[in-house]
């Protein structure tokens, strides 16, 4: 399956490195090459587990996301024609029986390991960073919207016009996130500004980032009253998020596409 591609690529890279070491014929060379390649202590893969058994569909996460990331509210007219800006919304589903309870799931960017949006961006405005986050550099985006067509999850939004923030709204903007202008595509960043802050704090204190301090790091996870959203490092088998991701209830959205999302859902068992 193509979802395995990155791993295969990594394997080839390791093989290539060991061949190089064989030519160098010194273990010391291999060690120094390894150190040079692994400038960050280890490769992280930030990910999220959303437990639908815990989720009550209260939508706190969607409000927190808008507040944290200066996501504009467009109003009913534009919403009606599908021009809303959505980083995280609830994917509503039909109830299983007529008249049954509503079903749904919080639906952020899936941060695919093999992201289709990254492949089509003609200007490199969107890319996978080395911690597995699909990033978007607002100022580099030319607004071609190829990525919106390529994204199988529809988790990208286009600013049809530059949002206007009036009066006190300006004071309510989060200074850690730049506001986007018209003609730019925007998306969920896993609240990278918060990740950056935690990383810096850890570095200043001379330690690694601890799992406890990132579990509820993104605004959606922080706001979730049921602790249904857990964030963390999927590459660390000890982390809470990895532990939850091994749950038999796990599934990934549209997993047959081989995009290997970093957002893992746990199926709703409760009726």
């Amino acid at each position: 399956m193509s979802a395995k591609d990155p791993n295969r690529r990594d394997l080839l890279r390791v093989l290539g490195a060991s061949v190089g070491a064989g030519v160098g014929a010194t273990a010391g060379l291999a060690a120094s090459a390894g150190e040079a390649a692994a400038a960050p202590a280890r490769t992280r893969r930030w990910g999220m587990v959303i437990d639908l058994d815990r989720c009550t569909l209260c939508s706190s996460c969607t409000v927190a996301c808008k507040q944290e990331n200066n996501v504009p509210v467009v109003g009913p007219d534009d919403e009606h024609v599908g021009a809303q800006i959505e980083w995280l919304s609830i994917l509503w589903q039909e109830p299983e029986q007529p008249g049954g309870l509503p079903q749904g799931m919080p639906f952020p960017c899936q941060h695919c390991a093999d992201a289709p949006c990254v492949k089509v961006c003609p200007v490199g405005a969107t890319y996978k960073n080395d911690e597995g986050i699909t990033m978007q550099i607002w100022d580099r985006c030319i607004g071609c919207r190829y990525c919106m067509v390529a994204c199988p999850y529809g988790r990208r939004s286009f600013n049809w016009e530059t949002p206007r923030w009036d009066g006190t709204q300006i004071q309510m903007l989060n200074p850690d996130v730049a506001t986007r202008t018209g003609g730019v595509v925007e998306k969920c960043t896993f609240c990278y500004q918060r990740v950056r802050r935690v990383r810096e704090r850890a570095a200043l204190e001379g330690r690694e980032i601890e799992d406890e301090e990132v579990r509820r790091l993104p605004a959606c996870a922080a706001a979730c009253p049921a602790e249904a959203i857990v964030f963390g490092d999927l590459a660390d088998p000890e982390s809470r998020v990895s532990e939850l991701a091994r749950d038999p209830r796990r599934f990934q959205l549209l997993d047959y596409l081989g995009t290997d999302p970093s957002v893992i859902y746990l199926k709703r068992d409760r009726r």
Binding site: G75, I133, W138, W160, A178, G182, G183, T189, Q193
Partner: protein, 182 residues
Amino acid sequence: MSASRRPVSPERARGRGLGLVCAFGLAGACATPAAAPPQPLPFDHALHATVELDDGPLGCTTCHAGAERGVRAGLPALSTCLSCHMRPQGDPPSSEEARVRELAASGVPLRWIQVTRNPGHVYFSHGAHVARAGMACAECHGEVTTWTEPPTVPLRHLTSMDACLACHRARGAPTDCVTCHQ
């Protein structure tokens, strides 16, 4: 946030973007030196850099307290000035010092005017550079300790991406876009 919006074709949107780029480019090229902003005090960096306190020389971080570990270096509050200038310093006492005490008596907070600002899409942490990378203030800020008055024009080399990247590449610091862009 807007009252009325019309969908804009991608071509038009891109045109707008290019227009903006041109406008900013021209504005940058034709910018005339701005008049000195009305700072509340004619602060003399050079004079203060020579001051010796009981526990050593007066460093940058005495007044710019966040420069070592914080994101923003910060500009000092009047209370910071008063921690020395409550009692007259120097002989004869300067008119600037009289102004400090006058401001303190009036109860008006000191409002420095920051002339160099990072754009909103840039994240810069002083702590990451000073405490983590062990850089000295002068490596970016240059000869601040020779200034006899506050800066009047933005220090462009401090907000130039080329300068940031050159140093990041030379020292093997991360060059991932989101290290510095938000």
